[in-house]
């Protein structure tokens, strides 16, 4: 056996250094950034799914959200959309955003047009199509190609409120609807205005459980997306970064859910329309009684002077409860008569 000489060991340390550094650098400059980028996209996807659900607490899907399902035809014909006002009166103007626009805001506010030198402000234009390229941070380390292939916002349709108890309430409401049907029909013939009398037409839906799926561009990774990290034949492929796709389809999925509709009044008309469903005297609010009271008012000096002409069957008052400086007004009772002294 020949002795090891200096000449034989020359450069060995360098070789070892290069080999070890190669491994270290692979981890440091490929794996760590890749993990960082992947986690960043994953976090963003998670936040986007939360956003997609919570947006429905602000934006109604549409004005016809629940008007036809599970309701009798004569009720469905009386669209609840009339209760939702879109006008210049901002305080009473309902916010509507359809599913496509919602999906666009998800893309534009979480995935596209960010990571540049200029901060992208939130704007109404976010409901439009894609707002520019994805963040430059989301590029493959080796291939320098964009990682993000696309974002889908799925399962955005409004769903039933998940409750057996609500089902029972719905069944009871349906029974009442059936009882009220002939009454509504007869009163409709007399010109009655409340054709949804005794209908429990509250929104039994209002539940959303959207899913956001951010898909990575697997083919754009160095190696074309076919790399394998545990190949036994030593053929690891032409890239390192695409090995992550060996057992993963490159799709981040995040689910979210929320109950968004609390049945608060969306307009004064909405308020009245929900109240009058259970006001029986609306059956008297018809053309026949209008004629009778007009004739009777002649004996009291005419409609403008008389008392009888003021009668308003089915009157429903939806004025604010009395108060002063935002605090409730105390009730005054005198000899069994209670009133608000306002």
């Amino acid at each position: 056996m020949r002795p090891i000489t200096l000449a034989h060991t020359r450069g060995q340390a360098m070789t070892e250094f290069v080999v070890s550094v190669a491994f270290i650098f692979m981890v440091l400059f490929v794996a760590v950034p890749m993990f960082g980028k992947l986690m960043d996209i994953k976090f963003q996807n998670l936040q986007a799914s939360r956003y997609a659900a919570w947006e429905r607490t602000v934006w109604l899907q549409d004005r016809h959200a629940w008007n036809t399902d599970n309701l009798a035809p004569w009720v469905a014909a009386n669209s609840n959309s009339n209760d939702f006002v879109i006008s210049n009166a901002e305080f009473e103007s309902i916010a509507v955003r359809n599913n496509d626009d919602l999906a666009n805001t998800v893309r534009n506010r979480f995935f596209y047009g960010h990571g540049r030198s200029v901060i992208k402000p939130i704007s109404a234009a976010d409901t439009d199509g894609s707002g520019g390229p994805a963040s430059p941070l989301w590029t493959y380390v080796q291939s320098r190609q964009p990682m993000l292939a696309g974002v889908q916002v799925l399962d955005t349709q409004e769903q039933d409120t998940n409750s057996v108890a609500y089902d029972v309430i719905g069944t009871l409401g349906g029974t009442v609807n059936a009882i009220a049907a002939p009454v509504n029909f007869l009163m409709g013939a007399l010109g009655a205005e409340n054709d949804d009398l005794l209908n429990i037409d509250f929104n039994m839906k209002g539940y959303y459980s959207p899913q956001v799926r951010a898909s990575l561009n697997t083919a754009a990774a160095k190696g074309g997306g076919s790399g394998q990290w545990d190949r036994v034949d030593g053929q690891w492929g032409s890239g390192i970064e695409d090995m992550i796709y060996q057992n993963w389809d490159g799709v981040f999925t995040a689910n979210s859910a929320i109950l968004a509709d609390g049945w608060n009044a969306q307009s004064v008309g909405y308020f009245k329309d929900r109240v009058d469903n259970l006001v029986l005297s609306t059956v008297f609010d018809n053309a026949v009684f209008d004629v009778v009271k007009t004739i009777a008012s002649i004996l009291e000096g005419g409609p403008g002077n008389s008392a009888i002409h003021k009668i308003d069957f089915g009157d429903i008052q939806v004025n604010p409860m009395p108060g002063e400086n935002g605090q409730p007004l105390p009730v005054t009772c005198d000899g069994g008569f209670c009133y608000y002294d306002d």
């Binding site: 090891i4 060991t9 360098m14 070892e16 070890s20 491994f23 981890v27 794996a31 960082g36 994953k42 976090f43 998670l46 936040q47 799914s49 659900a53 607490t57 998940n162 409750s163 108890a165 089902d167 509250f202 539940y207 999925t253 995040a254 689910n255 979210s256 859910a257 109950l259 609390g262 049945w263 608060n264 009044a265 308020f271 929900r274 109240v275 006001v279 029986l280 005297s281 009777a296 000096g301 002077n305 008392a307 009888i308 003021k310 009668i311 089915g314 009157d315 008052q317 939806v318 604010p320 108060g323 400086n325 935002g326 605090q327 005054t332 009772c333 069994g336 008569f337 209670c338 009133y339």
Partner: protein, 698 residues
């Protein structure tokens, strides 16, 4: 020496590589933990928000239906008003018998005032009698129908309240499940402490008055107790109250005081009666405020007037100027007044008085003249340099009405005939311008309601003449005992009307750290065909990030924490929300915001910071058994008991009240369907919820 240097660099290289790989794993594990932690918080936020949203739905539903009940109630008043309006005309012949009218108009002609009045008023009499007959038939039925219907709506409110609690359980489960990455392999759950928070909110909302904060204060750090309690229950330091009061007449008498034990949380105490009386006073005031114009005030007049013809006199007296203005106007004609009010014969001071609430209505018709007299005297003093100043010495104005009776009528709709008024003094006195009760307009000096002095003779004649027999003297003709009493309904506690905020909703959501996909838990199933990399052989426990809190350890505190969180290594979070009142589209006349109530549907939900006390409960610093003793120590036990107890306390009590007020044979007809409907909510739905919870809990 050279041999020893062989492979030296690669050793350092491998060591460095190991450090870098470890850093990579830490990075990965941290990322996974943060991701799962965010997911957990998202689920908790959405869960508690959804539960609060369901509570907001319930409060809005109560508001819509309360308004419906008020509108239905006023429709009874409307019918009674229409009846007295018509009866007043129909009873004119009884008023033209007034003795004065038997005198001749122009002697020696024998034609008397009565004869002329009978002819002139004939159209009114015919109209009045024509309208009164069918309206009277309606009044015999309508109050019964409407008050039963209102009571049924009240029961429906209670059923919906129980349905809401059941839905809060189901939605809580559903929201957590819908946040799962893999719905078929759920990992997140609501632990026992989460269901405790749910139970706590429901108990405080409906039975808060049964709890004493004294015990809570003793559990808190001295000096911080008040602030922490305020953060927990709002401005109710001292004594708690229900956020939502279940108002049912005579409920306070029927329910005993707290008997102790678990059910002490749902019994009513003596305060319930006082609160019920206050609530019904408020209900009566709201009903009276919501009367439509015809019901509230039926004033009209037809006549002619001679305006004030006396000019104002100004007398200059040097530096003094005297101004005298004598007003004298005359009006002559026919005037009618009337009003209908939701009143009680009693002063509304006890539970029993609530049942005396009913509708009373009066209408008067007179003709005559009215003098408007006024005297105004002003003196003005003008001095050089100083200028002029004036003083009003006299400013009086009054009316002198002289009216003669033409017609009058009263009608009352009450629960029992004994609740009716019988004599005029129980209604009022002539000249008592009590505007608002029996008609009248404070902004119109000529409109002072049915007890205007203009009708004085008619009012008295109506009491002493047996023919019209007003005020209830005539018995069943003027009193209809077909009212079933005021409805059972929910109202908002006093302090909540001021704050507009609910009790805190809190939920807890957890998942086992074993289920977090870190290198420790090996959820990635790193698998190389059974070799040394197999998941069974690899445990990187050193990279576990310590998020475990007090569950670690073997002491009692750790055991308690493990119990309430359902795992010995939980990743856990709590989240809180509340319902709040804000009417964005209407303001008060002074421009301020509408105060909170359960009569306006402007309740919504929002997230809030968990209170310190909730955090102390969640971390096990406060044992929830110290706050709510005996409510159970399992999620299923607590929720099952709560839904059952509230169902019994609210729904069944409401059904009993309704049936007690429905006369035979109607009660036997409606009892079965009513109890079946209630049973579906209180039994079937609750059983289904408990079953769902059993499947959900780990």
């Amino acid at each position: 020496m050279n041999c020893r240097q062989n492979g030296q660099a690669i050793i350092f290289g491998l060591l460095f590589l190991a450090v870098v790989v470890m850093a990579l794993l830490i990075l990965y594990n941290q990322g996974q933990l943060v991701n799962d932690r965010v997911q957990l918080e998202n689920a908790a936020d959405a869960t508690v928000y959804s539960q609060a949203k369901l509570a907001a739905r319930n409060q809005n539903f109560i508001a819509y239906t309360n308004r419906s009940m008020v509108a239905n109630e006023t429709s009874i008043g409307q019918m009674v008003a229409l009846l007295t309006w018509a009866k007043r005309y129909g009873q004119i012949p009884s008023f033209t018998t007034y003795p004065v009218y038997n005198t001749p108009i122009a002697p020696p002609s024998p034609v008397t005032f009565k004869q002329v009045l009978d002819v002139v008023t004939l159209p009114y009499v015919l109209m009045g009698q024509g309208v009164a007959a069918p309206v009277n038939a309606i009044v015999q039925v309508w109050p019964t129908v409407v008050s039963y219907f209102n009571s049924a709506v009240g029961v429906f409110q209670k059923m919906f309240a129980v349905a809401t609690l059941a839905a809060q359980v189901e939605t809580g489960i559903g929201v957590v499940e819908d946040h799962e990455d893999d719905p078929d392999n759920p990992e997140m759950y609501i632990p026992v402490v989460g269901w405790y928070f749910f139970t706590q909110n429901a108990l405080l909302t409906y039975f808060g008055e049964n709890f004493d904060l004294g015990n809570l204060a003793s559990l808190l750090p001295a000096g911080e107790a008040q602030d922490m309690t305020r953060d927990f229950v709002g401005d109710q330091i001292g004594s708690l109250e229900n956020m939502i009061n279940d108002n049912t007449p005579a409920l306070g008498n029927k329910k005993g005081k707290n008997a102790g034990g678990k059910n002490s949380h749902v019994n009513t105490g003596e305060d319930a009666e006082a609160k019920a009386v206050e609530s019904y006073k408020r209900y009566a005031a709201i009903v009276n405020r919501n009367r439509e114009d015809f019901t509230k005030d039926r004033h009209w007049e037809v006549g002619a007037s001679i305006p004030d013809l006396i000019p104002e006199i100004t007398i200059p007296l040097g530096i003094i100027k005297l101004t005298i203005d004598l007003d004298f106007a005359i009006w002559g004609g026919v005037a009618a007044d009337g009003g209908t009010a939701y009143v009680s014969r009693s002063a509304l001071e006890s539970d029993a008085d609530i049942g005396m609430l009913g509708w009373s209505s009066i209408d008067m018709l007179s003709f005559g003249i009215r003098f408007d007299i006024g005297l105004f005297v002003e003196v003005e003093l003008c001095l050089p340099i100083v200028g002029c100043n004036s003083w009003v010495l006299l400013d009086i104005a009054f009316q002198l009405p002289i009216g003669f009776p033409l017609g009058g009528a009263t009608h009352q709709v009450v629960r029992e005939a004994a609740d009716a008024k019988r004599l005029m003094p129980q209604w009022g006195f002539p000249g008592q311008n009590d505007t608002g009760k029996w008609g009248g307009d404070p902004d119109d000096t000529n409109n002072n309601g049915a007890f205007d002095a203009f009708h004085a003779q008619g009012l008295i004649w109506g009491n002493i003449n047996p023919a019209p027999g007003m005020y209830g003297l005539a018995g069943s003709r003027d009193v209809t005992p077909r009212y079933a009493g005021p409805p059972s309904f929910f109202s908002l506690g006093g302090s909540f009307q001021e704050s507009g905020r609910s009790y805190e909703f809190t939920t807890a959501v957890a998942k086992s750290l074993e289920d977090v996909s870190t290198s420790d838990s090996d959820k990635h199933n790193i698998n190389s065909d059974g070799d040394a990399w197999d998941s069974q052989n690899v445990h990187f426990t050193n990279f576990d990030v310590q998020t475990r809190s007090r569950t670690e350890g073997g002491d009692g505190a750790a055991a308690y924490q493990q119990f309430i969180w359902g795992d010995d290594r939980p990743m856990m979070t709590v989240s809180s929300a509340e319902t709040y009142f804000a009417n964005p589209m209407q303001t008060l006349s002074d421009g301020s915001a509408e105060p909170a109530s359960l009569f306006s549907p402007f309740w919504d939900a929002r997230l809030r910071e968990p209170s310190q006390i909730s955090l102390l409960i969640a971390t096990g610093e406060i044992d929830f058994e110290d706050l709510f003793a005996g409510i159970g120590n399992s999620a299923i036990g607590m929720v099952g008991w709560l839904l059952g107890a509230i169902g019994d306390r609210l729904v069944n009590t409401g059904v009993d009240y309704l049936l007690a007020n429905v006369p035979p044979p109607v009660d036997s007809i409606i009892e079965d369907p009513l109890r079946d409907g209630a049973g579906q909510v209180t039994d079937l739905a609750v059983d289904a919820v408990v079953g769902e919870l059993e499947d959900f809990m780990p």
